[in-house]
């Protein structure tokens, strides 16, 4: 079993991540990957990650601070934030991971129905949380994007594409995962 540290992250912009979201992510990760999820205490997003002009948080800076806060253990780290994430080149990202590495971060900001002008919907939010957690954790285990429509590893660049995915790995990605673990 591989230890995976799961931590809620507090950001200057964006709401706090609910217990229900953290719990569903823990369950799906233990279901799909050979990991034991260790709930880490909430951590603050580093101030230098916040871009006050964009009102967003830099994913690469967050990953760096995450690694600095946990230099050796656990083997994998996943932070979940309510703040909106970006990388300098792109207007936003749903999450970011070190491909085959230790640290990943996901954002719930654009996964809430409210962000797109809809009424709150907890079940929809939980389903999206599971999918995005699988996707970024998949990158941590060396998986790259998949062409299969429903696979969690498919690239989504907007919420419509995102909702075509399901919180599962397709058989192809599952096979590659097994091979990567060997």
């Amino acid at each position: 079993m591989i230890e995976l540290g799961l931590a809620p992250m507090l950001c200057p912009e964006g709401s706090q991540v609910s217990e229900a979201v953290m719990e569903t992510i823990k369950e799906i990760l233990e279901d799909v990957f050979p990991v034991r999820v260790q709930a880490l205490p909430a951590i603050n997003s580093p101030p230098e990650a916040y871009d006050s002009v964009r009102r967003q948080h830099s994913a690469p800076v967050i990953l760096k601070s995450l690694l600095a806060a946990h230099p050796a253990n656990p083997a994998k780290l996943l932070a979940v934030t309510g703040g909106d994430l970006f990388i300098p080149m792109l207007s936003f990202v749903f999450g970011q991971a070190q491909l085959g590495g230790r640290a990943a971060v996901i954002s719930m900001a654009r996964l809430t129905p409210e962000f797109h002008g809809f009424d709150p919907d907890l079940q929809l939010l939980l389903r999206r949380a599971r999918t995005v957690a699988l996707h970024e954790t998949g990158h941590l285990f060396g998986l790259t994007h998949c062409q299969t429509q429903e696979c969690a590893m498919r690239l989504a660049t907007n919420i419509h594409q995102f909702d075509l995915k399901r919180a599962v790995l397709c058989p192809g990605c599952a096979a590659i995962l097994l091979e990567n673990l060997r």
């Binding site: 080149m89 792109l90 990202v93 970011q96 907007n158």
Partner: protein
């Protein structure tokens, strides 16, 4: 498929280039990064990237536009996407004029980049596929089946390459089956006429009057049956190459006509009085000793010198036996594929038979022998049994004149063997026996030999 493509990200800001590279790697691409224009140019020199993302504003001498220009100089087909935070219409126009494929303003919508990248990769995939198919196609005509490690053959191929773009007439000499037409095609397709027609005419296959109309065409009504005007091979080959095979067999009147075409680059269609001008390169081939034919008065001396500007002599297979294993392996490879049989190799004893055999029909005979062996074989390895039909030829090494044999019986055996070897081709059989075709016909009739 994506891992086959490499992408270069050039930006002086570390977090910018690294996060972009990481994002593209998640998509399955191989990504390199460069922190300056100079570094990018060095990397692009070594690697042919599918896409170059280049930041417009970079300190340290070489900016994005200069980097773009330098990479385009090295790789004219390079796909370049210019990135900038300070977009102005002016710089966009400069970038596009210098050949940038796209121009994006950071921060960019992930959807936009994703579509842009997949669009370029799709084109690259098609280009690559196209190039591979094209190579396959031209190889078929170019050096297809010209396989050799013999230094003499290498010299011939080098010479063919050198003369490819000249206009000079080429005379190819070689026994039948040595690949004269393949060399002619190689000369045509590797030269600057490669895209123009290559027209092959076998001068031995046709009677005199037919050959004449075949070469020069005819006007409507010029003879019985000439219902339409017809272009001759010389006209069809205009701009390209005409290959005149077995040139030694053309009758005297046509020799004179041919000489005029070579000298004047023009001719008249049969029954026509309009001069037709053509730009055609002539490559001729013969298995005969034309010089001897000139001395015997059977071939015009002036035509011989016109044709023999560049002479290429292809050695018979028995003079380059080192090529037999190579050619045999190639034919096994190709013919097993074409016949749909799973034959992969030739056993050592079988190869010894092939090496010992004299191959009077040269490479073509070897190809036919391999095909025959593959068709009748039931195992993935060809054995000596599969080549037992070559026994008659191989036995000639230990040839003994049988007792009490008449010259006539001997003659009959020789003619039958020659016909078997040439697959019933009387012309080739006559050539290999050293007698005229008409003499051979006479003997066939006399001995009652069926072709």
């Amino acid at each position: 498929m994506k891992a086959n493509w490499q992408i270069l990200v050039v930006d002086d800001e570390e977090v910018m280039r690294e996060s972009m590279a990481a994002w593209l790697r998640e998509d399955g691409y191989n990504v390199d990064v460069a922190a300056s224009g100079r570094e990018a140019i060095e990397l692009a020199r070594k690697t042919d990237y599918a896409i170059h993302f280049i930041d417009l504003k970079m300190p340290g001498g070489i900016d994005g536009i200069e980097t773009l220009m330098e990479i385009r100089r090295m790789r004219p087909d390079a796909a370049i996407i210019i990135i900038t935070a300070y977009a102005t219409v002016d710089t966009a126009i400069v970038a596009m004029k210098e050949g940038a494929q796209e121009y994006i303003v950071k921060p960019c919508n992930p959807e936009e980049i994703s579509l842009l990248v997949s669009r370029i990769i799709k084109v690259k995939n098609l280009q690559r596929e196209n190039r591979i198919l094209r190579q396959k196609l031209t190889r078929q005509y170019q050096f297809h089946d010209i396989i050799s490690k013999s230094p003499r053959m290498r010299e011939i191929l080098d010479l063919a390459g050198e003369v490819a773009s000249l206009r000079s007439t080429v005379l190819i000499r070689g026994e039948s089956g040595t690949g004269k037409e393949l060399i002619a095609r190689a000369i045509h397709f590797s030269g600057d006429r490669g895209a123009k027609p290559f027209v092959a005419v076998s001068c031995a296959a046709l009677a005199e009057s037919l050959l004449e109309s075949e070469l020069f065409g005819y006007e409507k009504g010029s003879f019985t049956g000439a219902a339409e005007r017809k272009k001759g091979k010389f006209e069809l080959a205009n701009g390209g190459t005409i290959f005149l095979d077995e040139i030694g067999d053309i009758p005297p009147k046509l020799q004179a006509d041919l000489l005029r075409v070579l000298q004047e680059k023009s001719f008249y269609r049969i029954g026509g009085n309009e001069e037709v001008r053509v730009d055609v390169r002539v490559v001729a081939a013969t298995h005969k000793d034309l010089k001897q034919a000139v001395e015997d008065g059977a071939f015009r001396e002036d035509l011989y010198y016109r044709l023999n500007v560049i002479e290429i002599r292809i050695p018979p297979l028995r003079e380059r036996k080192e090529d037999i294993p190579l050619l045999a392996a190639h034919f096994v490879d190709r013919l097993s594929h074409e016949t749909g049989k799973d034959v992969r190799q030739i056993s050592d004893p079988a190869m010894r038979i092939l090496m010992d055999y004299d191959w009077p029909g040269n490479v073509r005979e070897l190809e036919n022998a391999i095909e025959r062996a593959i068709v009748s074989s039931r195992a993935p390895v060809l054995t000596e049994d599969d080549f037992s039909f070559l026994g008659e030829g191989a036995a000639s090494h230990t040839f003994r004149v049988p007792d009490n044999m008449t010259i006539e019986a001997m003659e009959k055996l020789m003619i039958e063997a020659a016909l078997r070897r040439t697959g019933g081709n009387v012309k080739e059989a006559a050539a290999s026996l050293g007698i005229d075709r008409s003499t051979l016909y006479e003997k066939l009739k006399r001995f009652g030999i069926e072709r």
